[in-house]
């Protein structure tokens, strides 16, 4: 049988069949892979949390390490005023919350994790901000004085490789170590990203050459988030 491929009816039939087949294949694939993807994302989150307290982990041992250092401690959910609210810290997706413009500042929930490393209590603050091309996020851990940075891990969705993407590299995150986010009375003090190479001074961190907008994004993210969490950290 010779098909008339220019027949409008045939074109419609072909289109519907094609869309149907593609839709079925993609939805079967998405549904069957969803549990695996969720599990991977959870593992990644545990690895990032561990990285911020200086614990190296792999996908294989992340769950055990997480349980050892963080999972055995309580975790909290606070609001922007620093009051504890209901919720499960690990399940809060701050990236979705950050993206969703319909959530008011008061309704936002901020998870706080507590870790114990070598007997020292560490406070892990998750944060999210804006880079040049897309979201950036990270975890910053504070020592038990609640103001000195103990460890940092940053990540990004699609910053420029070799430039903005360098924020996740150790050489950059190390520059944040031992910086303070507050004075001794826990009043917030910003950490500035500088271009003039004066990053060795207190409250200053050298930015990344060629990655100014991403560096500024990190600066904004850290300062905005820390100011909120200090409201709570002051009270405990």
């Amino acid at each position: 049988m010779k098909i008339n491929k220019d027949n409008t009816g045939y074109i419609f039939l072909f289109t519907f069949l094609l869309i149907g087949v593609v839709a079925v294949i993609l939805s079967i694939l998405a549904t069957s892979l969803a549990p695996q993807i969720t599990k991977n994302n959870e593992t990644k989150k545990q690895m990032d949390l561990l990285a911020s307290i200086g614990v190296e982990s792999t996908r294989a041992n992340a769950k055990d390490m997480y349980q050892k250092y963080i999972g055995s401690n309580p975790s909290y959910v606070i609001n922007s005023k620093g009051e504890v609210v209901e919720g499960k810290a690990f399940d809060i997706d701050i990236r979705t919350q950050h993206r969703d413009k319909s959530i008011t500042e008061d309704a936002k929930k901020y998870p706080l994790f507590i870790a114990t490393v070598d007997g020292q209590t560490l406070y892990i603050v998750p944060m999210v901000g804006k880079g040049l091309w897309g979201p950036i996020w990270g975890y910053v851990s504070l020592k038990d004085d609640k103001r000195t940075i103990y460890g940092v891990s940053y990540d990004h969705l699609g910053e420029t490789p070799g430039l903005g993407a360098e924020i996740k590299q150790k050489f950059f995150t190390d520059r944040y170590l031992a910086e303070t986010v507050a004075d001794e009375e826990l009043n917030f003090m910003p950490i500035k990203i500088v271009k003039d190479g004066s990053g060795a001074q207190p409250q200053k961190v050298d930015g990344i050459t060629g990655g100014t907008i991403t560096s500024k994004g990190v600066e904004e993210m850290v300062n905005r988030t820390m100011e909120i969490y200090l409201n709570y950290l002051k009270t405990i």
Binding site: F14, T15, I19, V22, L26, G158, P161
Partner: protein, 233 residues
């Protein structure tokens, strides 16, 4: 009836006949998708800062192009001519989503590296170009060979550009700092290796315009050395 028809058919062409091999070797130099057809330049500019990303991108394009060419080639007698571009887009978009989903589930770290490039694969002109120019008019096997050739030709140029840019822009190869590292360490205030002697990275190399210039230089060298490509005026 059908038996008779099959007997009349010409003897099947061997899988690796001269013609089929040419489909693979041609795009490697004489008909390279990037340097001769100047397709897929956008992704060549965007992701050649580091060799690792160029390799990952090449592998993804290889997979999508090979599978897509075969699928389009199998459907070629059914696709209505008036909506063929839309059909090609649907095929390439679905394949890319499938690849991304599978990577997210089983190779999450590779998927994180690909992140934004997934979108770049869909818009890669080489893929649409091969669908339209080859797979729409040829059988699945030659289409597959054509995809292998073009994806490899794309990969060669991508990796060549990435090697130059990573070496001169970051002083490293595949993330290994072979020229030393510009990050100061204890005892080396200017960095290690060549950087200790006053060498500096060329920051222009990391920016997209340099990719265009590097591709331009490759085209220049290729055209001046390959007799088949020298045009008479």
């Amino acid at each position: 009836m059908s038996e008779v028809a099959e007997k009349v058919k010409a003897p099947a062409e061997p899988l690796f006949s001269k013609k089929n091999r040419k489909l693979v070797t041609d795009p490697l130099s004489d008909n390279n998708p990037i340097t001769i057809q100047v397709l897929g330049i956008c992704s060549a500019l965007a992701i050649t800062v580091q060799v690792e990303q160029a390799v990952v991108m090449s592998a993804a394009v290889f997979f999508v192009l090979a599978l897509g060419n075969v699928v389009i080639s199998m459907l070629r007698n059914l696709i209505p001519g008036r909506i063929r571009i839309i059909v090609q887009l649907v095929v390439v978009a679905s394949l890319v989503i499938m690849v991304n989903q599978v990577l997210m589930a089983y190779l999450p770290d590779v998927s994180a590296k690909l992140s934004v490039f997934v979108g770049l694969i869909i818009t890669n002109c080489i893929i649409m170009g091969r669908f339209e120019a080859f797979a729409m008019g040829n059988k699945p096997w030659p289409s597959f060979m054509d995809a292998v050739g073009n994806a490899s030709g794309y990969a060669i140029i991508l990796i060549m550009v990435a090697v130059v840019r990573e070496l001169l822009g970051s002083g490293s190869f595949f993330g290994i700092p072979i020229l030393g590292s510009p990050i100061p360490v204890e005892g080396y205030p200017n960095g290690t290796g060549l950087f200790d002697m006053g060498y500096m990275n060329n920051n222009l190399m990391v920016l997209p315009p340099m990719a265009l210039i590097v591709v331009g230089i490759i085209i220049w060298i290729q055209r001046s050395r390959n007799k088949n490509l020298i045009e008479s005026h």
